[in-house]
């Protein structure tokens, strides 16, 4: 069974313009799918919709989000919450703001295990220690007793990764998990996530604006423009021959890892206009049909 299927998901500002336009994508168990697009394209919005944390200012106007076959949008709110807590997790963008400054690290990793999944505190603590060791944190016992402000950004992101894997979720949403980090730390964290993913076999929806990252960790990707999926492809195929002119231009605009000076061409205006026209045509069709 597929880990996640999103079908025709539409989200808009309450009584306002659409933010997601019939987005469809799917993830096989253990698969990593990249979600790329420029800032504001709606990448995070998709992740938030899946995790049930959309801001109150927006509403879902249609579509399905099937988590292992169950449509989350049809579940009563309390069931949906528990279901998401039990089988999904988030690796957030900014490790400096994603940990509660008033709580020690230990409980922030174990809380879900104890409160939602009913583990004993002792088992949960053992599990947390094991995971912290797995993300290469020295002296896990000391770290579990620490407060977030006592730890570096890289450490905190490792902790958040450990915490995301704690309950062996079927699906993790990683929302630009390296963007807020130092360049030197970025590579380590990326490697760490890839390693954890491989060992635990977790499906990951990997939000990023960096195609270089996609080429390293993803099997498939979706390219998003203005809340619309313009291309859904296997990563190998995409890098060989992108099908949509916008995603081709996006690829051309990405600096190559081998030669950072090459390929810094901004997306041409003509391409932008064409894709905008596509979006407008889509909106007209929705309005009439």
């Amino acid at each position: 069974m597929t880990a996640l299927v999103i079908r025709n998901l539409s989200v808009r500002l309450r009584k306002g313009p659409p933010l997601l336009r019939r987005v469809s994508l799917d993830l096989a168990p253990g698969e990593v799918r990249g979600l790329v697009g420029e800032s504001g394209a709606g990448k995070s919005m998709i992740g938030k919709a899946v995790l049930g944390i959309l801001p109150p200012s927006v509403e879902i106007t249609g579509g399905e989000i099937l988590l292992e076959g169950t449509d989350l949008l049809r579940l009563p709110p309390a069931d949906r919450r528990r279901r998401i807590g039990a089988s999904c997790a988030l690796i957030p963008q900014d490790p400096l703001t994603a940990l509660n400054p008033s709580h020690r690290i230990g409980p922030q990793i174990t809380d879900r295990l104890v409160d939602i999944l009913g583990w004993t505190r002792r088992n949960a603590d053992a599990r947390a220690r094991e995971l912290l060791a797995e993300v290469q944190i020295p002296d896990p016992d000391r770290v579990m007793r620490s407060y977030p402000h006592e730890l570096s950004g890289g450490m905190r992101q490792r902790i958040l990764i450990a915490s995301a894997f704690a309950a062996e979720p079927r699906l993790i949403v990683a929302d630009e998990p390296t963007t807020a980090l130092d360049v030197t730390v970025q590579k380590q964290i990326l490697k760490l996530i890839a390693g954890m993913q491989a060992r635990h076999g977790t499906a990951i929806l990997f939000v990023t604006h960096d195609l270089g990252v996609v080429s390293k960790v993803c099997q498939r990707l979706s390219v998003l423009y203005s809340g619309m999926v313009v291309e859904d492809a296997r990563v190998a195929d995409f890098f060989r021959a992108p099908r949509h002119p916008y995603s081709a231009a996006l690829l051309a605009a990405t600096p190559k890892y081998t030669d950072p000076t090459a390929g810094l061409n901004p997306v041409p205006d003509a391409v932008i206009e064409a894709v905008r026209a596509e979006v407008a045509a889509f909106d007209r069709e929705v309005a009439h049909g």
Binding site: I53, S102, D111
Partner: protein
């Protein structure tokens, strides 16, 4: 470490503050017209009588000399003798202190409970009618000062529906087995719930009158702070773990949101203690504030000085407690 530093710094500022208060109160009340000796003598007393009594209380000496006599006495624990009651000031003031402390703390507890409940409910149902109703109630509570709330309460629960006592601290005919003046506290310790109930029935309205404006301030501030905190990343992350709204508010947001509120509550609590002066008068509650008004009416200079100094000590202590609480609640300060 920071806690020790806070204590030392506070000790230093306390000494300076108290010295300043001592100077100001001593000279200001002597500028105000009215002769305390003339007020305590029966009509028809001669100038000679007044002069003799003035000399007895040292009021004939130059101001600066009087000041030094008073200050050196205070430093040795002698706050002088009350002119109107002829008893040592320290004993009088300390005898009344527990009544005012109990009233203030009870009011504070009421304010925190009421304001906290309003803030939590408003946050839980934010954006809806419930929050609107809470905002309106807060606004009303804030636009009426404490003594007017006192009058309103007297009308409501003293006259129309007499469920509480409107005057005094305890029913005078009751036998009190207490060895301190902390009646409320001691009645609990001695398990004399009959007395406790009587004392609470006396304190309830004055405490509530003092509490209502502070409750509104706490309600508004804490709600604002909670709502901002609810949008932070770590709260969102907690939601993805499967927690419901109530649990997220209480466990993830409340503690962090309470920190900024705490400092302000400290300042507001000192205002509340100031408010006891009028409220105690209104409810004939035998505390420091009520005694202060009598002392002013009688131009009882040593007593006024003693009461004002004691209020200054209380204010400083409140600020110190708030600082310490802040340090304890905020892990960033505790370990820095």
């Amino acid at each position: 470490m920071p806690i020790l530093r806070i204590l030392l710094l506070r000790l230093l500022t306390t000494v300076v503050t108290l010295a300043g208060v001592a100077v100001i109160v001593f000279f200001v009340i002597r500028v105000v017209p009215g002769n305390p000796i003339a007020m305590m003598l029966p009509p028809g007393a001669t100038e000679a009588d007044i002069a003799r009594l003035s000399a007895l209380y040292g009021l004939d000496k130059p101001l600066v000399t009087q000041f030094w006599i008073w200050v050196s006495g205070v430093l040795q624990g002698d706050f002088g003798t009350s002119i109107s009651t002829r008893q040592p000031v320290l004993g009088l003031v300390l005898g009344r202190l527990p009544a005012t402390l109990e009233l203030s703390v009870m009011a504070l507890v009421m304010a925190v409970v009421l304001g906290g409940a309003a803030a939590l409910t408003g946050t839980r149902y934010r954006g809806g009618r419930t929050e609107g109703a809470i905002d309106v109630a807060n606004g009303m509570a804030l636009s009426v000062p404490d003594f007017l709330w006192g009058l309103i309460l007297i009308l409501l629960f003293g006259v129309l529906m007499p469920v509480f006592h409107i005057s005094g601290r305890v029913t005078p005919s009751l036998d009190l087995p207490f060895s301190t003046n902390f009646y409320l506290f001691e009645s609990l310790i001695r398990l004399r719930f009959d007395l406790w109930a009587d004392i609470v029935a006396h304190m309830f309205m004055p405490a509530l009158a003092l509490a209502i404006p502070l409750a509104a301030i706490i309600g508004q501030l804490l709600k604002q702070s909670l709502k901002e905190t609810m949008n932070l990343d770590y709260v969102t992350l907690a939601r993805t773990k499967g927690y419901g709204e109530t649990r997220v508010i209480l466990r993830e947001a409340l503690r962090n949101a309470a920190l900024p509120t705490l400092t302000l509550v400290g300042v507001q609590f000192t205002f509340l203690i100031g408010g006891t002066v009028i409220i105690e008068r209104l409810f004939s509650y035998e505390g420091l504030g009520n005694m202060a008004i009598d002392a002013v009416i009688n131009r009882d200079l040593p007593l006024i000085q003693g009461i004002v100094l004691l209020f200054a000590v209380i204010f400083t202590a409140v600020n110190l407690i708030v600082d310490l609480l802040y340090a304890v609640l905020n892990p960033r300060l505790r370990h820095a």
